[in-house]
C-alpha cells in the first residue's frame, strides 16, 4: 500500500513554516468524529478548527480551508448541501461508507474536491485534505473505481492511458505496482490519474471549487488551457 506517492505537490514548493491548513469536520458519530480529528490533528500541517454534527454550526465557528464532511448526517444524504457549499467556494472533502459508484460520481458532480471511503484510512485522509486545501486533485482508489466504471452519457472522454492508470490504481492501491505494470514512472501514473480527475472537474454542473481545481491544474502544467473547454465561462459565471 503505497500512499506517500500521493502526497501531491504540496510540500516541495511550500515555505519552511507554511500556515497550517484549517480543517472543519462534520460527522454525526462522535467516535468517528473523534478518530478522524485525532488523525488530522496529529499532522503538523493541519489544524482542526471545528467539529460537530451540524454543517452550519461547525462553519459558523470560523472559516475552514477544507470541510471534511460525512455524506450521511442523521440518516439524510447531504449531496445537495455539498453542491451548495461548493458553489460558494467552500472546499468539501466528502467521506462516507457509501462507496457505490453512483454516489461517488454525484458527489463529484456536486463539486466536492475529493471523495474518501471511510475505510481508506488515515494516510489517504491526511493526504486528501492537504491536496484539497491546495486545490489539487487527490484520487483515492474508491474514486478511481467510480471514474473507471462510469458509463453515463455525460462522462468525460478519458484517454486509454488515463483509463488504464485509473483501473490499475483502483485494483492495486499501489502507485509503485501500477508504474511497474505500465512501465512508466510513478509520477506519470499520478499525472494520468490526476488528469482523469481534472476532466471530471470540467464536466457536469459548474462550481467554484471545480474552477479552482482547473485553474490550479493549468498552473501546475497538468493540463493546458486550450484543453479546458468551458473553464473560463464558468469562472465568469
Amino acid at each position: 500500500m503505497d500512499t506517500n506517492s500521493m502526497a501531491g505537490g504540496v510540500t516541495p514548493d511550500a515555505a519552511p513554516t507554511p500556515p497550517r491548513v484549517a480543517v472543519a469536520i462534520v460527522d454525526d458519530h462522535p467516535v468517528v468524529l473523534e478518530g478522524v480529528r485525532s488523525w488530522l490533528a496529529a499532522d503538523p500541517r493541519l489544524s482542526v478548527v471545528a467539529t460537530g454534527d451540524d454543517i452550519d454550526a461547525v462553519l459558523s465557528r470560523g472559516a475552514a480551508d477544507v470541510l471534511l464532511l460525512d455524506l450521511r448526517l442523521h440518516g439524510t444524504m447531504v449531496i445537495d448541501r455539498v453542491a451548495e457549499l461548493s458553489a460558494a467556494g467552500q472546499r468539501v472533502v466528502v467521506y462516507s461508507e457509501h462507496t457505490d459508484a453512483a454516489t461517488i460520481l454525484s458527489v463529484l458532480d456536486a463539486g466536492a474536491v475529493a471523495f474518501l471511503a471511510k475505510k481508506e484510512g488515515r494516510d489517504h485522509c491526511v493526504e486528501t485534505v492537504l491536496a484539497a486545501a491546495a486545490d489539487r486533485p487527490y484520487v483515492t482508489p474508491a474514486l478511481a473505481g467510480a471514474m473507471v466504471g462510469d458509463r453515463s452519457n455525460a462522462r468525460p472522454t478519458l484517454s486509454d492511458k488515463e483509463r488504464e492508470a485509473l483501473l490499475l490504481w483502483f485494483q492495486s492501491m499501489s502507485k509503485a505496482s501500477v508504474a511497474k505494470r505500465m512501465q512508466i514512472s510513478e509520477h506519470t501514473v499520478k499525472q494520468y490519474v490526476d488528469r482523469a480527475r481534472i476532466k471530471y472537474a470540467r464536466a457536469g454542473r459548474p462550481a467554484a471549487t471545480k474552477a479552482a481545481l482547473l485553474a490550479r491544474a493549468i498552473e501546475d502544467g497538468l493540463v493546458r488551457p486550450e484543453e479546458i473547454g468551458g473553464y473560463r465561462s464558468w469562472a465568469a459565471g
Binding site: 473505481g145 466504471g149 458509463r151 483502483f170 485494483q171 492495486s172 499501489s174 505496482s177 511497474k180
Partner: protein, 373 residues
C-alpha cells in the same frame, strides 16, 4: 366433430378419417329412404290405414335427415333431442298406419330406417345414445307386435330377428367410427408424446454430459489431494498440503456457486471464494463497479478460477475488484506476496480471456480480462 373443436394434435388426422364415415352414413340413410321406403309406400299407398299420415311421416324423415346432414357440415345448429323425438314419433305413426299383416313388411318402413337416421343425427356422440334410441324403437315395435293380430310365437321370433337386423348395423357403424376417431387421435397424440419424450431424453443426455464434465472438474480440483490424504502420502500438518486443500476447497466452492440461479452469477461465484478465504481468517475486500453482462459459464470459469487459486493462498488481506460493462469485464486480485512463485506472466486463454499475473516484493497481482468479441 369433437376432434375439430379440440384442435389437439390428433385433430387433423381424426377429421380426415371422419369425413369418409360421415359421407357414408348420410348416403346409407338417404339411399335406404329413397330406394327402399319410397317405392314401398307408393306401392302400398291405398292400403295404409291413413295414407297421408304415411306420406307425411316419410316427408318428416326426409326433413330430419336433411337437417341432420346440414348439421353435420356445420351449416345449422339444432339440438339432437327434438330430431330424435320426431324420428320416434314417426316410428310410432308407421306402426299405427301400416296395412294389416304387413308389420314385418317394407310398408312398415320406419322400423328399419330409424337406425340410419339416428346415426346421422347422433354422429360423433357416444354409442350409448344410439343404443337407447334403438331400444326405444324395439319397445315401440314390441308394442306393435303385441297389438298385431298374428301368431304370437312366430311374431316374437321375427321381432327378435328384426330388432337384431335393424339395430346392429347402425350401432356397428357409429361404434366403428368412434373407435376409428379415438385411434387416430391417439395415434397422432402418441406421435406428439413420443417427440416430447425424445426431446426430454436428449435433454437428459445433455444434463448427464454436463454433470460428467463437472465431475471431471471436481476430480481435477480435489481428487488428487483427497487421494493423497487418504493414502497417507500427504501430511495434513504440511503447509503445502494445507494450501492444496485450500485451493481445492476454493475450486469446489466456486463450482457449487456456479450452478446457482442468481442475477449476478460472476459476483456470486467470486463471493463464494471470498467467503471461503474469510472463513480462513483472511479479510477480503470485494469491490465491484459497473454491471456485469451475461457471460457463459466457461468464460466465468476462466475469469474466476485463476483468482480463486491465488485467493486460496492469500495470508494477510486481499482486494478483489470487478470493473465491468457490456464490452469488457476485468477482475483483479491483489494480496501481499506470500510463498507463491515469483515473476510475471500473461497469456490469452482460449482467445476470450486474458490472464495476467505479477509478483513483486510485496504484492501478488492477478488479473483476468474478458473483452466482447
Amino acid at each position: 366433430m369433437r376432434a375439430e373443436r379440440d384442435g389437439g394434435p390428433g385433430a387433423t388426422v381424426a377429421t380426415t378419417v371422419e369425413r369418409g364415415g360421415r359421407l357414408a352414413a348420410i348416403g346409407i340413410a338417404f339411399g335406404w329412404h329413397l330406394v327402399m321406403n319410397l317405392p314401398a309406400i307408393v306401392a302400398e299407398w291405398p292400403e295404409f290405414r291413413v295414407p297421408w299420415a304415411a306420406g307425411a311421416g316419410w316427408l318428416l324423415y326426409t326433413v330430419v335427415g336433411v337437417i341432420a346432414a346440414l348439421r353435420l357440415y356445420g351449416r345449422v345448429r339444432v339440438p339432437t333431442t327434438p330430431l330424435i323425438a320426431v324420428l320416434l314419433l314417426v316410428d310410432v305413426l308407421s306402426f299405427a298406419t301400416v296395412p294389416d299383416g304387413e308389420i314385418f313388411a317394407a310398408a312398415n318402413w320406419a322400423w328399419g330406417t330409424i337406425g340410419w337416421f339416428a346415426v346421422i343425427v347422433l354422429w360423433g356422440r357416444r354409442v350409448g345414445a344410439l343404443v337407447a334410441v334403438m331400444a326405444a324403437n324395439a319397445a315401440i315395435a314390441f308394442v306393435g307386435v303385441l297389438a298385431h293380430n298374428g301368431e304370437l310365437a312366430v311374431d316374437l321370433s321375427r321381432f327378435v330377428m328384426f330388432v337384431y337386423g335393424t339395430a346392429v348395423l347402425p350401432i356397428a357403424l357409429l361404434a366403428a367410427m368412434n373407435a376409428l376417431r379415438v385411434t387416430s387421435e391417439g395415434a397422432a397424440a402418441s406421435a406428439a408424446a413420443q417427440a416430447a419424450v425424445e426431446a426430454e431424453r436428449a435433454g437428459a443426455v445433455r444434463a448427464q454430459h454436463e454433470r460428467r464434465e463437472r465431475m471431471a472438474i471436481v476430480t481435477r480440483a480435489a481428487g488428487s489431494v483427497l487421494a493423497d490424504l487418504a493414502d497417507g502420502r500427504a501430511d495434513p500438518g504440511d503447509p503445502a498440503v494445507q494450501r492444496r486443500c485450500a485451493l481445492a476447497a476454493a475450486r469446489l466452492r466456486r463450482l457449487i456457486a456456479e450452478s446457482d440461479d442468481v442475477p449476478d452469477p460472476l459476483l456470486h461465484e467470486l463471493r463464494a471464494c471470498v467467503d471461503l478465504a474469510e472463513r480462513q481468517g483472511v479479510p477480503v475486500e470485494l469491490v465491484a463497479v459497473g454491471e456485469v453482462p451475461p457471460l457463459p459459464i466457461p468464460v466465468r470459469r476462466l475469469l474466476a478460477e485463476p483468482l480463486a487459486a491465488v485467493l486460496a493462498s492469500a495470508r494477510d488481506w486481499a482486494r478483489l475488484t470487478v470493473v465491468a460493462d457490456e464490452a469488457e469485464v476485468v477482475v483483479s486480485l491483489t494480496t501481499p506476496a506470500a510463498d507463491v512463485p515469483d515473476g510475471r506472466s500473461s497469456w490469452a486463454v482460449d482467445g476470450v480471456v486474458d490472464y495476467w499475473y505479477e509478483r513483486d516484493e510485496d504484492l501478488v497481482w492477478t488479473q483476468t480480462r474478458w473483452r466482447a468479441a
